[in-house]
Amino acid sequence: MSLAFDDYGRPYIILREQGSKKRMKGLEAYKSNILAAKAIANTLSSSLGPKGMDKMLVSADGDVSVTNDGATIVEKMEIQHPTAKLLVELSQSQDAEIGDGTTGVVVLAGKLLEQALTLLDKGIHPLKISDGFDRACDVAIKHLDQIAEEIDIQQNDHEALIQAACTALGSKVVSKRKRELGKIAVTAVLDVADLTRKDVNLDLIKIQTKTGGSVEDTRLISGILIDKDMSHPQMKKEVTDAKICLLTCPFEPPKPKTKHNINISNAEDYKKLYQQEQQYFVDMVKLVKNSGANIALCQWGFDDEANHLLLQNELPAVRWVSGTDVELIAMATGARIIPRFQEITPQKLGKAGSIREVQFGTSNERMLVIENCQCTKAVTILIRGGSQMIVDEAKRSIHDAICVIRNLIKDNRIVYGGGSAELACALQVLQYADEVSSVEQYAVRSFADALEGIPNCLADNCGLNPITSVAQAKSRQLAEKNPRIGIDCMELGTSDMKEQKIYETLSSKKQQIQLATQVVKMILKIDDVIAPDDY
C-alpha cells in the first residue's frame, strides 16, 4: 500500500508493515478476483462431459496422479490465490454433499463470473448483479423441480440406477467398462442400503485397490477384504464355517502400564520367570482354542513364540489388522471385540461362511477374503488396474458412481444430462428476464447465458461445433416443448437424452446451481483486497 504523508512530510504508518501490503479497491478488486476464479474454471472446463480430458498432476514429492474428477484436480493444484481458493472449496463442498458434479459446479461458477465481468463493464452495481443472479437461480431451481421425473429404482432389475451410474462413469477413464462397473456399484449400494429409511452408510462399502490385472478384473466381494495374510506361511489358507476371535490385545505377555522393574536375584527365579512367560503363551492360545474359535484376528503383533504355538495348535491367525478393519469385521460377522484373553467367551465370536487367502497374479502378495458373513452388511469392491494411476482414478470414479446411486435412493427424482437440464433452465430464466423491470434484468439474462455455457462447453469438448449444436438443441427444445433435448456428445444420432439414457440426479443439479450462485455472489461482494505484497 502506498504511504501517505502529513503536512510535515512525515509518513503515516497506520497499518503494520504498511509498505509491504498490497491493497486493491473497487473495480480493480472485482476484476482481479473474477479473473483468478475464471482461470480455475477454465482449467477444469476441458474435463467436463463424456469426452472430457484428464489432467496430470505432479505433487511436490513427485507423486503423479491422473484424474478427471474436478474436486481432486483443484485440490491437488494447491492453489494460493484467495479468491481461487473459494472455488476449490466450492468443488469440495459439492463433493462432500453430493459426491458427483464437482467439475460442473466450478465451470458454472466460472461462466457466471465471466458474465458478471461484462455486466460490470456496463457499469452495473455488483450487488445488483448478485441480486439478479439470485432471482434467476430461484427460477432455475423451480424449473428443475418441474422438469424432474421420478424413476422407479426397483424396476427392471434396477436398470435406472445402472444407467445413472453409467452416466457418472461415462466421463472417466474407465468409461469403456462403465456398464460392468456401474452394476458393481449398484449391487454394492443396494447390499448395504436401508431402503425403508432411505439411508446408505457409505462406510460399509470398502473400496480396496490392487495394481495388476486389468479394470475388467474389478470385483464385488460380499464380505470384507483385508490386505493381510496369515501370520505363519504354513497355516491353513482357508477356513470354512469360521468362528472368528477378534482381539485387540497382542499375543505377548501382558505389560502393566505403570513403570516397572523386575529384580531377579538368583538363577532359580530367572527360570521361574522364563517358565511363567512360556505359560502365558500356552494359556493364551488355549483360551482362544477353548472358546471354539478356529481363526484369530488381532489388531496387534505376535511374539514369535506365540506364532509358533498357534501353528502347532492349528489355529490360523492374522496380525496387525487395522482398527477400521477390525470394526468392519465386527459389524459384518457379529463378533464382539475382545480386549483381553481372559474375556474370551464363545458368545463373543463372530461367524463367517469362509475365510480364505487369495493370491494375485504372479506376485507374492496375498489378501484375505472374509465371505458369507453372519450379518452381511459390509461389502468390498476390489479394484484392479494396470497402474497405480488407473487404479486410483477408477477408485474415484466408482466413488462418484456410488454417491449418485445413494442420492437416487434418497431422492428418486432425476433430470436428463447432456446439458439438456441447463438449457431448459436457461430458456425459462430468459423468459423470466423480460418480466423484470429493473436493472436486474440484465443480470437475469446473463444468468441464462451462463447456464448455456455448460452445454456449450460439453459440445466443445466433444469436438462438435458448440454454437451450432447448442443453437439447434435450443430451438428444438422450444419447438417441441421437450426439456430433454441436449447435446449428442456420443454421436448416437439422437439428441433426446431420455433415449440416450443420460440420467443425473435432481439433487446434484440443484446443488450445483445453488452453490455456484452462492459463491459468485460472495465474490461479487468483495470490493477491497488487503494482502501481503509478496504474491
Partner: protein, 553 residues
Amino acid sequence: MSQFLQPTILLLREGTDTSQGRAQIVSNINAVQAVADVVKSTLGPRGMDKMIQTGPKVTISNDGATILNLLEVVHPAARVLVDIAKSQDDEVGDGTTSTTLLAAELLKEAKPFIEEGIHPQIVIQGYRKALELALEKLEGFSINISRDSPEDKRNTLLKCAQTALNSKLLANTKQFFSELVVSAVEKLDPNILDRDLIGIKNVTGGSVTDSFLVDGVAFKKTFSYAGFEQQPKRFENPKICLLNLELELKSEKENAEIRIEKPEEYQQIVDAEWALIYEKLETIVKAGAQIVLSKLPIGDLATQYFADRNIFCAGRVAQEDLLRVQKATGGQVQTTVNGLNPETFGTCGLFEEVQVGAERYNLFKNCPQSRTATIVLRGGAEQFIQEAERSLNDAIMIVRRCFKANKIVAGGGAIELELSRYLRHYARSVTGKTQYIVNSYAKALEVIPRTIAENAGLNSIEIMNKLRQRHAQGGDEGRWYGVDINGQSGVCDTHSSFVWEPSLVKRNALCSATEAACAILSIDETVKNPKSDQDTKMKPKGQPGRPPMGMRR
C-alpha cells in the same frame, strides 16, 4: 575547551519520535480518516465485503470490528477507532461500522476549528453537550415495545434481526435466518440471555437454507475407537452421564514405579490395573447411564465395553459443548465415578447421531431444561460459512439486546437525521462558539445516511436534500424518513418499512463515537519510544502480533 560548552540535556532516548501541538491533533485526525475510509464501503444494505489475507488465512467480512482488527492498525491514534469498534462489538454486537464512521466524521468536522485556532477543549465541550442533547432526544424518540403482545414482540424481534442481516451475505435469506435467530434466543433464559448457550456449528456443503436449529445441543462426532460403530446411535429419554475423566487403561500415577520381587506377582499387578478401569466402567453401567460423554479420552477398551452393553459414548468432547449439554440436559459433570449417583445424570427427549453433509453429528433434542440452542450452518465455502456465522452473531446480539431493552428506533439513517435536525434547531438558540460546534455535530451525524446512499450507488446529495426537507417539515410524519435503496425516489419511511434497530445500539454508538473523538482531540503530544518500534520490526513476517479475530465469541 569542553568546559565552555553547554551540556546537552538528554531528556529522551535517542531516536524518540515526539510531535506535539496543534499539528499533532491534525495529523491524528488525518490518520483516523484513513482507517475509517477502509470500512466506509461496508455500511448499509448495499455495503461491500473486504477480503483480508493474513498469512495463509483469508477472511471475507462485512463486519466493521472484524475488518479493523485484521488490519493490524499500529498508528496510536487510529488504534482508538479499533478499540471503540471492539467495545461496540462487545457491548451490543452490531453497529460497529457506524460507530467508526461517526467518530471519524466528528473529527473531520472538528479539524477546521482546530486549524483556525479554537482550543480543542472547547470543541470537546461542545461535542459533549451535543451528545447529551442527542441522547435525551433519542430516548424520547424510541418506541417502546414492552407492552405489546408476545406475537407483536416476536414480530419486532424478527424485524430487528432482519435489519441487522440486511447488509450481510445472508441478506437474501434474511427471513429464514431471522426466524432461526429469534427462535434460538427465545430458547434462552429470559433473565440472563447467556450468549454462550447458543452454539453455532459450521458444516460446509449444502445450501445456506439447509441450515437448521436444534433445540438442544449438537456437536460433531468425536474421534472414536474400534467398536464405536457397534454402539446404538439413537435413544429416547436417555440417561446422560457427563464426565471429566479418562476412561483408559493407563498408569494411575505418572512417576510411580513398581518393583516386583517374584515372578508370580507379575500377573497380580497386571490384573490390578485392569481391575481399576473395569471398576470405573462397572460403576457407570450399574448407575444406569445410557450415554457417556467425557471431556477426556475414552479409550478403545471402554468403547468396546460400552458397545457390549448398548451404551453410547463419546470422548474428547469440547469443553463448551459439554457445558451446553450440561445446561440443556440438567446433568452435572463428574470428575470421578466414586459414588456416582443417578441424580447427577441429565436427560433429553431424543438423542441421535445423524449425517450432516460429510460429517456425522450428535444431536440432543427436546431437552427438558432447554435453555440452550444450537444453529447448524451450511454453505458452499469455508469463508462463506465463517462470514455467515459472524452475521448471525450480530443478529443474535441485536435480538438479545432488543429482548432486554424493549426499545427500538427506525434505521436507514432516519434516527441520525432526526437527531441532526433537532441539534441544528437547538444550535440556533445558543450563543458563542458552542453554536458552531453543535452544528458540526449535527452535520457529522448525517454521515450515516449519506454513506448508505453512496454505497447503494445513489445520488447522495440529492437524497440528503430530500431527507432534510422531509425531516424539517417536522411532526411524526417526517420523523422516520430514511434512505430507501430499492425504490425510485430513494427515500421512504423506514419505520413503516420495518427497518428497525434497538435504540441501545444507537445510544452506545453515539456515546462511544463521541468519547473516541474527544479523546483524540485532547491528545496534543505523542512520544513514541524507539524500542517499541524496533520490536515490531524484529517480529518475523507473517506472524501477526495480535491473535486473529476469528476467535471472537
